[in-house]
C-alpha cells in the first residue's frame, strides 16, 4: 500500500472520471481562448461529445475486463468496477450525449450559450460515474456532491430568468439539507464499523443486534437523504419547481441521469451495507413507494405546464422503480435496471420535443402550446405519441418492461395490494400522458393562426429518432437489453 500511491490499475479504474474532468477543463480553456464569435458557441458541443466517445471506449475496456476476469477494484478498494458500475456508466453516457445534442440549439435560443455549460455537464457526469463505481462512503459522498454542485449551477444557468434562479436556490438549500442528513448517516455508519468501506460496514451492521439504536439512526438519515435525491414523496417537493425552472435539456438530464445515479447509490448502500437489515427498511420503502406513486400520478393530472407534468410523472416513475428495490428479488432489481434504461430514451424523447418547441421569446411549455402540432409536424407527433405511450407502459414499447418485471417481482413476494394500486395508477397515468397526445390533434375552429412550431436542427432530429427507435427496439426485441440489465444486477447482489 505504501509502495505506489497511484498505480496503473488505479488509473484504469478511474479512467472515465479522469477523461471527463480533462475534457471539461479543456472546454473551459478552448471556450475562453479559441471561440470568439457568439454564433460559434455551439462548437463547444464537439469536445463534449468527443469526451463521451472516449468514455465509451474506456467503458468497453472495462466491460471486457469484467467479463473475462470479474469485478476489479482500485484505490485501495474504494472504487469497484463491476457490471453494475459499467451498466450505470453506460446510462450516463447515453443521457449526457443526448443532453449535449439537444442543448446546442436550445441554449442558443435562450441566449445563454456558454462553454461552462458543457463543462458542467461533464463534471456532473464525472460525479455520477464515481457514485456508480464507489465502494467507500467518502468516495461516494464526493461523487454525489460533485454531481449536485454541478447541477445547482446548471439548473440556474439562465441568469436572466427568475424561475431558473429560484429553482437553483431551492435546489441548493434543500439539496444541502439532504446531503447534510446523508453525511450524518455516513458518519454514524463509520462510528458503527470503524471503516468507510462498504464491505466492512456490511459486516459490522450484520453483527449488530435487531433493535440497535445507532443502526436505526443511520438507517433513518441515510434513507431520507437518498429518498430526497430520487424525489420520493414526501421529499419530492423540490422536483416540480426545479424541473420547471431549469433549462429543458438540464431538466431532462436531472430527471434521467441524476435519478439513475441516485438509484445506483441507493442500491449499492441498501444492498450491501444495509442488506442484513432488510426486514426493517423494506416495508418502509414500500409505503413510501405507494405514497410517491399516489402523489406523482394524481398531481400530474391537473398540471398545465408540460415540464411540471413530466416532473410529477417522474416522481411517479421513481415510485415504481422503488418497488423493484422493495421486492428485493432478482426480477425486481432487473426491473429497476430495465426501467432506468427505457426511461432514458422515452423521457429524453419527450423533453427533446419540449425543447424543440422553445423559440426565442416564447416559452411554449404549456400543454396548449402543443395544440395542432400534428398538422405541422405529423412525424414528430407520432414520435411524441410513442414516447407518451411508452411512459404509460403500453406494450410493445420499452416502458412496458420495467413495469412488467417490477409487477412480477412484487407479486412474487406476495404484495398483492401494492400490485393492485400500482396497476390502477397505470390507468391514471394514461390520462395525463394522453392529454398531451390529444392536444397535438386539437385544432379549434378558426384557430388556424397559431399552430405549434417545431424548431429542429440535425442533432435534435437525430436524437429524437434514435430515442424513438430504441424505445421501439427495446420493446420488440428486449432480450439483449434484459440480459445486459441482468448482468449488472447480478454484480450488485454479490
Amino acid at each position: 500500500m505504501d509502495a505506489i500511491l497511484f498505480s496503473a490499475a488505479d488509473f484504469h479504474v478511474l479512467k472515465p472520471v479522469i477523461l471527463l474532468c480533462l475534457f471539461g477543463c479543456g472546454i473551459l480553456i478552448t471556450d475562453a481562448f479559441l471561440i470568439r464569435n457568439r454564433a460559434d458557441r455551439w462548437k463547444n458541443a464537439i469536445p463534449a461529445l468527443a469526451a463521451q466517445v472516449a468514455v465509451a471506449a474506456s467503458l468497453v475496456q472495462h466491460l471486457g475486463d469484467v467479463r473475462s476476469g470479474g469485478a476489479f477494484s482500485g484505490l485501495n478498494g474504494s472504487m469497484q468496477v463491476d457490471g453494475f458500475a459499467v451498466f450505470f456508466n453506460w446510462l450516463f453516457v447515453l443521457a449526457a450525449s443526448l443532453a449535449i445534442v439537444i442543448s446546442a440549439r436550445y441554449m442558443g435560443a435562450e441566449g445563454e450559450h456558454r462553454g461552462e455549460f458543457y463543462a458542467l455537464l461533464l463534471f456532473a457526469q464525472a460525479g455520477m460515474s464515481v457514485m456508480a463505481a464507489g465502494y467507500d462512503l467518502v468516495v461516494l459522498f464526493i461523487g454525489l456532491e460533485t454531481m449536485a454542485l454541478s447541477f445547482y449551477v446548471l439548473v440556474g444557468f439562465l441568469r436572466d430568468t427568475r424561475r431558473s434562479n429560484e429553482a437553483a436556490l431551492k435546489y441548493l438549500i434543500l439539496g444541502a439539507f439532504s446531503s447534510g442528513l446523508l453525511a450524518y448517516g455516513f458518519s454514524i455508519l463509520y462510528g458503527i464499523s470503524g471503516s468507510t468501506n462498504l464491505g466492512e460496514i456490511a459486516k459490522a451492521v450484520a453483527a449488530r443486534s435487531e433493535g440497535d439504536l445507532a443502526l436505526f439512526l443511520a438507517l433513518i438519515t441515510c434513507s431520507v437523504g437518498l429518498l430526497f435525491k430520487i424525489a420520493a414523496a414526501p421529499f419530492h417537493m423540490w422536483a416540480p419547481d426545479v424541473y420547471e425552472g431549469a433549462p429543458t435539456p438540464v431538466t431532462a438530464y436531472v430527471s434521467v441521469a441524476s435519478k439513475a445515479a441516485s438509484f445506483a447509490l441507493m442500491l449499492r448502500i441498501f444492498l450491501t451495507a444495509f442488506e442484513s437489515a432488510a426486514e426493517a427498511w423494506m416495508p418502509l420503502l414500500g409505503a413510501i413507494a405507494l405514497v410517491t406513486m399516489t402523489i406523482g400520478n394524481f398531481a400530474a393530472v391537473t398540471q398545465t405546464n408540460v415540464k411540471r407534468m413530466l416532473a410529477y410523472s417522474s416522481i411517479a416513475h421513481a415510485g415504481y422503480i422503488l418497488l423493484g428495490l422493495v421486492a428485493g428479488n432478482e426480477t425486481g432489481l432487473r426491473g429497476v435496471a430495465v426501467y432506468l434504461l427505457a426511461y432514458v430514451f422515452m423521457n429524453y424523447g419527450a423533453f427533446a420535443l419540449v425543447a424543440a418547441l422553445r423559440r426565442e421569446g416564447e416559452a411554449a411549455e404549456d400543454i396548449d402550446d402543443f395544440n395542432g402540432l400534428y398538422h405541422r409536424a405529423p412525424g414528430y407527433t407520432i414520435l411524441l405519441a410513442i414516447f407518451m405511450l411508452s411512459l404509460t407502459g403500453i406494450p410493445p414499447l420499452a416502458g412496458f418492461y420495467g413495469k412488467y418485471f417490477i409487477f412480477l417481482a412484487i407479486l412474487r413476494e406476495g404484495y398483492y395490494l401494492v400490485a393492485v394500486f400500482a396497476a390502477i395508477y397505470v390507468a391514471v397515468s394514461a390520462f395525463y400522458y394522453f392529454r398531451l397526445i390529444r392536444a397535438c390533434w386539437l385544432l379549434e375552429e378558426g384557430e388556424q393562426q397559431k399552430p405549434a412550431q417545431l424548431d429542429m436542427n440535425f442533432g435534435t432530429r437525430a436524437a429524437l429518432v434514435a430515442c424513438a427507435l430504441l424505445t421501439l427496439l427495446i420493446g420488440i426485441y428486449p432480450q439483449p437489453f434484459i440480459d445486459l440489465a441482468g448482468e449488472s444486477v447480478l454484480a450488485a447482489l454479490r
Partner: protein, 700 residues
Amino acid sequence: MFFLDSIWLIPMFPLLGAAVMLLFGRRLEPQHDQGPPADDHGGHGGGHGRPAGRTLVNILCPGMVLLSFLFALGAIFQLQSVEGHSYEVVKWTWLAGLDSATGMGLNAFTADWGFLLDALSAVMILVVTGIGFLIHVYSVGYMAHDGGYYRFFGFLNLFLFFMLVLVLANNYVLLFVGWEGVGFCSWGLIGFYFRKQSAQRAATKAFLVNRIGDAAFVLGMLLTFTTLGTLTFTEIGPALEAGGFQIENPWGPLSLLTLFFFIGACGKSAQIPLHVWLPDAMEGPTPVSALIHAATMVTAGVYLVARSSEIYVLAPNTMLIVAVIGALTAIFAATIGLVQYDIKKVLAYSTVSQLGYMFLACGVGAFWVGIFHLYTHAFFKALLFLGSGSVIHAVGGEQDMRKMGALKDKIPLTYKTMLIGAVAIAGVPGLAGFFSKDEILWKTFSAHQYELYALGLITAMMTAFYMFRLIFMTFHGDNRVDPRTHVHESPRSMTVPLAILAAGSILAGYVGTPIVFGPVHDMLPSLEHWLSSAVVVADAGEHHAAILEWGLMLLSVSLALLAIWFAMKTFKTDRYAGEPMHGILGKRCHQLFLRKYSVDEIYDRFVVKIGAQETGSQLGQIDRKVIDGAVNGVGKLTRRTSSLTIFGDKWIVDGLVNTIGYGVKFFSYPIRMFQTGMVQNYVLLFVIGLGVVAGYFLFE
C-alpha cells in the same frame, strides 16, 4: 405447409399498408391534409375529381387485407389436415429473462412472438380479414369526399394488424399487445373528425374507460403467471392438470384471475359498468363503427373469455358473474335502444346488447355458442352499420331518424339489404341470427338459469322491436327528409359489400343448426364440432326432451314476430306525429331510457369530478396551499425551535426574510417564490417526513 408456416404474414400485410400510408401518405394527397371538415359529411356531394394518389391508396390498402384473407383461407385449409387442428409458429423468444435461480417452478417461462392457429383463431381471422376487406372496399366509396384519406386507411390497416395479432397470439402478453393496439387505433379513428369537440371527447373517453379494463387485464395476466407459471395458451391446459387444480367453490386464485380477465373484457366489449364509451364511439366514421365497434374489436373480450375457457370452467362463481353481467347488459342496452333517434345510436346500443348475449353464452358454459353468435353477429351488424352509413350518405349526413322516412323506393338496394339484416338480428327462422340467438337461449335454459333465460327472451323481443322501429322510421311512412337534399343511392363500391354481407347474414347460421333439426343438422358442417378442439365444450349432460326445445324455439320466434308486428303497427301506419314510444312506455320509463339511466352523469359526478379532478388538484396544490395553510402554525414553532439546532442560523435568516420581507435587496427577486411554494415549507415537510420515518423505525 406453406400457408401454415406463413401465418405470421397475415398480420404483416396490413402493417405494411399502414406503414406506407402513415409515413408517406401525405405526399399522396394533392393538397396537404388540412383535416376533414368539422361536419361529418359536409363534403359529400361536392363532387370534386378523384386525385391520382388515391387510386394507389384504394389498391394498396384493401389489397393488403385481401392478401391477408387469402393467406388465412389457405392456412385454414391446410389446418384441417393437422392433427388436433392446432399449429404454432414461433418467430423468436420475446421474454425469457426469468429463468435463472428464482425457482417456484417458473423456470420454463417464455413469452414469444409466437402465433397460434387453431379452430378458435381460425374463426376469428376469417371474420376479421373477410369483413375487414369488405369494409375497406366500402370505405373507398364512403370516404371519397373526406380529407385525411390516407390517415383513415393507414389507421384502418394498423387496426387490422393489431386485431390479427390479438387473435393469432399464442400467449397472453402478445395478445395484450394487440389488445392495447386496437384500443389505440380505435382512439385514433373515433377522433378522426378531430375538429369536432364531441369526437375528441368521445375518443378520449373510449380510451380511458378501456384503460380501466386493461389494468384488470394486466392483473389477471400476472396472477395467471404466478398461479400457473405460464402465459402460453397451449401450456395452460397441462399446467392446470399438473397443478391438480379442482373446481373452485367459492373462491380461489383461478376465480380471481378469471374475474380480472372478465373485467378487462368488460372494458373492451362494453359491458356494464364499462359500457359508456361504445355509444359515444359512434362519432367516428361509419365504416369504423361497423368494423371496430361492431364486428371485431368489441368482440375481443368474448374471444378472451373463450380463449381462457379451460380456466373459466374451474371457476363457477366467475362464470355466474359473467352470465349475469351479460344478461343484464343485454336487456339494459336493449331498453335504451328502444328510444334512440340517432340511427347509429340504435345500432350501437344493439351492439352492446348483443355482446351481452355472447357473454351470457360463455357464462353458462357454452363458449362455442358465444363464438358462434360473435361470428353471425359480425355479418348482420356490419351489414346494418354499413347500411346505415349508406342511408346517412344518401340523405346528406343526417343521422336523426325523425328526419328520414319513405326512403325505400329511393335507395332500394340499401333498403333490401338492411331489411335482411334486421330480419336476421330479430331472430326470424332461417337467417343467421335465429340460429345463434336461439342456441344461446336454449343453453341458458338447459343450464337451469331460468331468470337469465327470461331476461334473454325479453331482450330478444325488444331487439326485434327496436330494429323494425328503425326500419319503419327510416324507410317507410312519411317523407320527412329535408326537401333540399338530393337523395341518391350509394356507389357500387358501397352497395356490393352490402349485398355480400346480406348473403352472409342469411347463410352464416347454417354451421350451427340445433341438434333437434336431426338430419339437417347432421348434413351441415358443425361449428361446435370444429371448435371443440380449441374451447371447452360441455358434455350434453342430462337430456331434455326434444319437444321442450321445439317449444321454446316456437316461443321465442312467436315473441319476435309479435314484436315485429307491433313495431309495424306503431311506426308504419302511424303518421309519426308526437312520440309513440312515449305512450307505449309511459313518461317516466321513457325519460329513464332516453337519459340512458343517467350512468354518464353519475360517472361524471362521482368518478370524474370528485375522484379524479378534486383529488388531483388537491394533491397538485399540496406544495402551494395545503402545506401553506397547515403549516403556518407549525412553522412558527419550528422556526423557534430550529434556532436550537445546528442548522438554526440558516432558517432564522430565512424566517427573517419571510417576515421582514420584500425590501431586502438580496432576496428581492422572488415575489413569485412566496407564491409558488416557500422553500422553508418544503424543508418543514422534509422534517415532518423525517419524523415519520424515524417514528416508523422507533415504534416498529
